[in-house]
């Protein structure tokens, strides 16, 4: 009985892993083969890079990459600034209505961003940021998850360090910058990972709020590239998909160990 159980668990894990990775494996397979070879799973067919050549010429990918890169950077910078300041205020400062405001912030966690799409659209238009990268990133900057994370991280900093820094002559922002931020480094790293992968993959909101190739991120570009009216070519679409996920995938494979450690240290799972 015990020996059976011992094998069931790993077997289940392997099965789940295979199911999870199979679309990616198929896209990888299809990207390097001609369409007919790909769908027929002709294992001995020739490998080819033609699909990548076709896909690359089919859309302004470089521009899309740049847009996505700018988007995740802008969002991350905005989030770091806002969540740091808000998290610090909630963790270490006293102001009237603090708990009430904090509950309001936490309630944001229960609201799916998709619900707010219309309101966000109106807001971004009013601000004149329609069809701009800042407009795409803006609604995500005041992240409730980030504020909560920073608050927890700052709360765990011993009060003596705060007091020692005060006596050594630091002002409030100085203490935040010299003591709290460096001590929360693992949290920042873990949060950056979550944020970058979320916004790299975000699709619906950028689709709605962008209009031109100059602002369109990869996800939107890819979906337009693969839209049925352009003719469906599984291999070419797979090649384009591989190109869009490659940077994140490579980064994760290279820094896997650091990422996992950052998550463990920040206490997120």
């Amino acid at each position: 009985m015990n020996t059976v159980l011992r094998y069931i668990e790993p077997a289940g894990a392997i099965l789940l892993a295979v199911i999870w990775i199979s679309p990616l494996m198929f896209a990888f397979w299809a990207a390097f083969h001609s369409t007919s070879d790909a769908v027929n799973f002709n294992l001995f067919s020739a490998w080819t890079l033609d699909n990548f050549r076709t896909a690359w010429d089919g859309a302004p990918w470089l521009r899309y990459f740049l847009n996505t890169f700018l988007l995740v950077t802008v969002v991350l910078i905005g989030q770091f600034i806002l969540t740091t300041l808000a998290g610090f205020a909630f963790a270490k400062l006293d102001f009237p209505g603090k708990n009430f405001v904090f509950i309001l912030v936490l309630m944001q966690l229960f609201i799916l961003p998709e619900v707010l799409i219309v309101e966000n659209y109106a807001m971004v238009s009013r601000l004149g940021l329609f069809d701009s990268i800042l407009g795409v990133g803006m609604p995500y900057m005041a992240s409730a998850f980030g504020i909560f994370l920073m608050r927890q991280s700052f709360k765990s900093v011993p009060i003596e360090l705060h007091e020692a820094a005060r006596i050594e002559g630091c002002g409030l922002l100085g203490i935040l910058w010299r003591v709290y931020v460096p001590l929360a480094k693992p949290t920042y790293l873990a949060y950056a990972l979550v944020s970058v992968s979320t916004h790299w993959n975000n699709f619906l909101w950028p689709l709605i709020v962008t209009n031109s190739p100059e602002t369109r991120p990869l996800t939107v570009g890819l979906s337009i590239f693969g839209a049925p009216e352009n003719g469906v070519d599984i291999s070419v679409i797979s090649a384009a998909t591989m190109m869009s996920v490659a940077p994140l995938l490579l980064a994760f494979l290279l820094f896997q160990r650091q990422f996992v450690q950052a998550f463990l240290r920040a206490g997120i799972k």
Binding site: E163, A164, R166, I167, G169, R178, V179, L183, K185
Partner: protein
């Protein structure tokens, strides 16, 4: 140097929602002196120190440092340094960066910073550890880093909050001497919080004994030991503490007095020759001498020291004698009465 005291607390009080903080703390501290705030836990000694540091703002009263009213000044404007019980070293900074943290914040030029740091590390014997992180140091070394950080800026006032309580007994003795020497060599004023009377008595020029948020006595270690202001001081200071005897037990005194008597002034005499006949309640061998605890109705903490190993069985009856000149007299309220 002027005659005005360096640090002055005038009728300072701090209360927390009805809970006891400190009340009516008045204190004059001369420049270059070593003052210990002593008392049982919860007596308000740490609160007093935090009020001085500017980490708390008093509800009443006034605090002056170097002639300047700093009652409501920020901690950073008071020109003092502090050593915390937990050392409060920044774990993400190396020893060197920890030491010069304050200098960097105050924008001291790089060359001067390096010079001051070198000297501080030299004084505290930390050379060679500059690049270690606090997590890689022993308890004693961390303690020295905290000291180095406190002296590097050359502040004239240094506050210490039980800096030795996280060290083992042996290290505590040597660091105690180091701190005292440091204070003397640098000529700084140290205000030192401790619950350990040995620390207070051995290091301080002046001891402030506190209880329940109020000062019980301010004086030299000699004052506290030999002229306790009240029965609390008498019972707190000294090991073993002073014995308290109801005057009715002895006779020959006004009734309702309390008499204090130190163990070293008591001797055991042969039966019938002593002033009091007591029962042995415990005997403790301390090495060079034996402490014999005695019990008698109307007395608390009566004991006698005998040289060498001199254990007595519990329950034995012994007679004790003492010179009436060595008795301390306290009135009904427990306050010391002027010498009769």
């Amino acid at each position: 140097m002027t005659n005005a005291p360096f640090v002055v607390m005038k009728a300072v009080a701090k209360r927390w929602n009805g809970q006891l903080g400190v009340e009516d703390i008045s204190l004059d501290i001369d420049e270059g002196s070593f003052v210990a705030l002593l008392g049982p836990s919860g007596c308000g000694k740490s609160t007093s120190l935090r009020l001085l540091a500017g980490l708390e703002i008093p509800d009443e009263g006034q605090i002056l440092i170097d002639g300047r009213d700093v009652t409501t000044s920020a901690a950073s404007d008071r020109n003092l340094s502090m050593v915390f019980q937990s050392y409060a070293l920044f774990p993400h900074l190396s020893v060197a960066e920890n030491v010069i943290f304050g200098l960097k914040v105050r924008r001291v030029p790089r060359a001067e910073r390096a010079k001051k740091m070198k000297r501080a590390l030299q004084i505290t014997g930390l050379e060679g550890l500059e690049h270690r992180k606090p997590g890689e140091l022993s308890g004693g070394q961390r303690q020295r880093v905290a000291l180095a950080r406190a002296i590097v800026a050359g502040q004239r006032l240094c506050l210490m909050d039980e800096p030795l309580s996280n060290l083992d007994a042996k290290l505590r003795n040597s660091v105690r001497k180091d701190i005292k020497k440091l204070q003397r060599d640098l000529g700084i004023t140290v205000i030192y919080v401790t619950h350990d009377q040995t620390e207070a008595m051995s290091m301080a020029d002046k001891v402030v004994l506190m209880k329940d948020g109020r000062i019980q006595q301010v004086g030299t270690p000699d004052d506290l030991y030999n002229r306790p202001a009240n029965t609390f001081v008498a019972e707190f200071v000294g090991a073993p503490p002073m014995a308290l005897i109801q005057s009715s037990v002895l006779g020959g005194f006004d009734a309702s007095l309390t008499l204090g008597l130190r163990a070293e002034h008591v001797s055991i005499v042969s039966k019938g020759e002593g002033q009091l006949s007591c029962t042995v309640s415990e005997a403790e061998f301390l090495g060079s001498e034996t402490l014999i605890g005695l019990s008698h109705e109307g007395t608390v903490g009566l004991s006698v020291l005998q040289p060498g190993l001199a254990l007595l069985d519990e329950g034995t009856t012994v007679d004790i004698a003492f010179d009436a000149a060595n008795l301390h007299k306290f009135n009904q309220e427990g306050d010391r009465m002027s010498e009769v």
